[in-house]
Symmetry: C2
Subunit: 220 residues, 2 copies
DNA sequence: ACTATTTTTTAGACTAACTTAAAAATATAT
DNA sequence: ATATATTTTTAAGTTAGTCTAAAAAATAGT
C-alpha cells in the first residue's frame, strides 16, 4: 500500500501533536500544524483511517495505529539522521538544516537509511539535541531539565532546545551556547526572571526568561 | 514560479530524447519514456508551454527553452552527484544507485548541491562514467569509443556504459570490467561479431557483440 | 492523388488534495 | 437547562495529473 508524501506529513503532524499534548490530535490542531483548512483535515482523516494508519471516531480526535506510528517515527529517524549528515559532513549550521531535512526525510530506501546511519557512526542525537529513534522507533531518553528549573550553584551541559526557530538557534550561536557547552547557574533575578550564568567556565552572561525556558541542560 | 516533481520529470525526459535523437521530442517518444498515455503528454505539454519551459507547435514535437534546459541539466547534475555520494561514501554498488538518485535529484536547495559537490571533491563523472554537468549546465566531453569500433591491437581503459541496466552492470562486475580497467582488443570473430580481449593485462575474455556495443573505452 | 496507417489532439471522466461556506454536533456559560 | 460559542463535518467546487475512446491531422504507399 502506497503512502503519499502528503499522507506522510499528516502522520508526522499527528505524532507531534499527540506527543506534545498527550492526548488525541484534534482536527483543528492538525489543520493548524499543517497549514490547511479543517475541512481538508477531515478529508485526509478518512483516507488515513481507510488505510488503518490512524484510529478515528468523529468529533473525538485522532491517534496513530501501530503502523501509523511506525511510519511517523521512521520519518523522524530519517529527518534527524539527514540533519546530522548536513551538519557533520556538509558543514551546514544547525539553523539551516530543517527545511532540507524536511525534503530528505521522504526519500524511500531502507538500505539508504541503514547505510547513512552507519556512515554517521550511529548517532543518538541530532544537531539540536533531539533523540534519533532506532529502526524500531525507540527514542533514547536523556535526563534533561530546562535551565529555567535550575537552582543557583547547579551545573550542567547544553544538550538541546525546546524552541527550534532559526532566530533562537542563531542567538545561541552568538552566545556560544552550542551543544556540549558547560554552564553553571550563578544567580536568579526575581524581577524579570532572568538568570546570570557562567558559560564554559569563563564567560558570564545574563539570559532572559524566554531563553531559559527554551534551553535544555543535562545536570552533572 | 513553482515547478512540480512531475513537471521536472517531463523536462528530464524531453532532454534525454532530444539528446538521443538530435531532434524535437515527439509526443509518443515522451509518453513511452514517461510510461504515460499520449493524451497525458499533450496535456502536460500545454502546461510546460504556458510556463515557457518548452517550445511547442502542435504535431511538430517539443524542444526545451533555455530555462527548461537549465532545469533539466541541473536535475542531471544533482542525480549524478548523488550517485557519486552513494557509491563513494555509502558504498553502494553502481547497479543500485539509480532509483535512489531518481528521488534525491528532486531535493531543492542550491546550497546543498554546492556543498555536496565540494564534499565529493568536484567529480566530473558519475559511477557509470557519465559526465556531471557544472552549475552552468556544461558537460565535460571525453573522447570515448565503443569497444565495438576498436581494431585488434588497440588498447584503452573502461570509462563508461551505454546500457545502464542492472543486469549489464552486474555482468561487468563479474567480469571485473569496472571503470578504469585497462583493456586490449586481441581478436575479432566475424562469425558472431564477438571479441577476445585482455583485461587488466592478465586475463583473457571473450565478449559478445551486445557487450561490445555497450561498453565505452577511452583509447590510449 | 487518394487511401490507409500512424501520430497527435480533443472530449469526457477519474482521483488526490485542496478550498469556502453552510450545517451539524459538541462544549460552555449563565 | 437553554442559549451561545466552538469545533467538526458535509457539500460543492477547483486544480494537477492521470486515463480511455474518439476525432483530427500528418505521413506513407501504391
Amino acid at each position: 500500500m502506497e503512502i503519499s508524501y502528503t499522507e506522510e506529513n499528516y502522520l508526522k503532524a499527528i505524532f507531534k501533536i499527540s506527543e506534545q499534548d498527550g492526548k488525541p490530535a484534534s482536527t483543528n490542531a492538525i489543520s493548524s500544524e499543517m497549514n490547511t483548512s479543517a475541512a481538508s483535515v477531515t478529508d485526509m482523516i478518512k483516507r488515513l483511517s481507510d488505510k488503518t494508519l490512524i484510529h478515528y471516531e468523529r468529533y473525538r480526535g485522532v491517534t496513530l495505529t501501530k503502523r501509523g506510528e511506525q511510519i511517523a517515527t521512521h520519518l523522524i529517524r530519517k529527518h534527524r539522521l539527514w540533519e546530522v549528515f548536513l551538519v557533520d559532513k556538509l558543514h551546514f549550521s544547525w539553523d539551516e538544516v530543517h527545511e532540507i531535512a524536511e525534503q530528505l526525510e521522504h526519500i524511500k530506501s531502507q538500505r539508504l537509511v541503514e547505510r547513512l546511519d552507519e556512515y554517521l557512526a550511529f548517532p543518538k542525537f541530532d544537531p539540536h539535541g533531539d533523540p534519533i529513534p532506532d529502526a524500531d522507533g525507540n527514542f533514547a531518553i536523556r535526563k534533561q531539565a530546562l535551565l529555567m528549573d535550575f537552582q543557583p550553584g547547579e551545573q550542567g551541559i547544553v544538550v538541546g532546545v525546546q524552541d527550534h526557530s532559526t532566530t533562537f538557534l542563531q542567538y545561541l550561536d552568538r552566545m556560544e551556547l552550542v551543544l556540549g557547552t558547560p554552564v553553571e547557574l550563578l544567580e536568579y533575578f526575581e524581577y524579570d526572571e532572568s538568570m546570570r550564568i557562567l558559560i564554559n567556565q569563563k564567560r558570564e552572561q545574563v539570559l532572559s526568561k524566554k531563553v531559559c525556558q527554551n534551553l535544555f541542560i543535562q545536570k552533572r
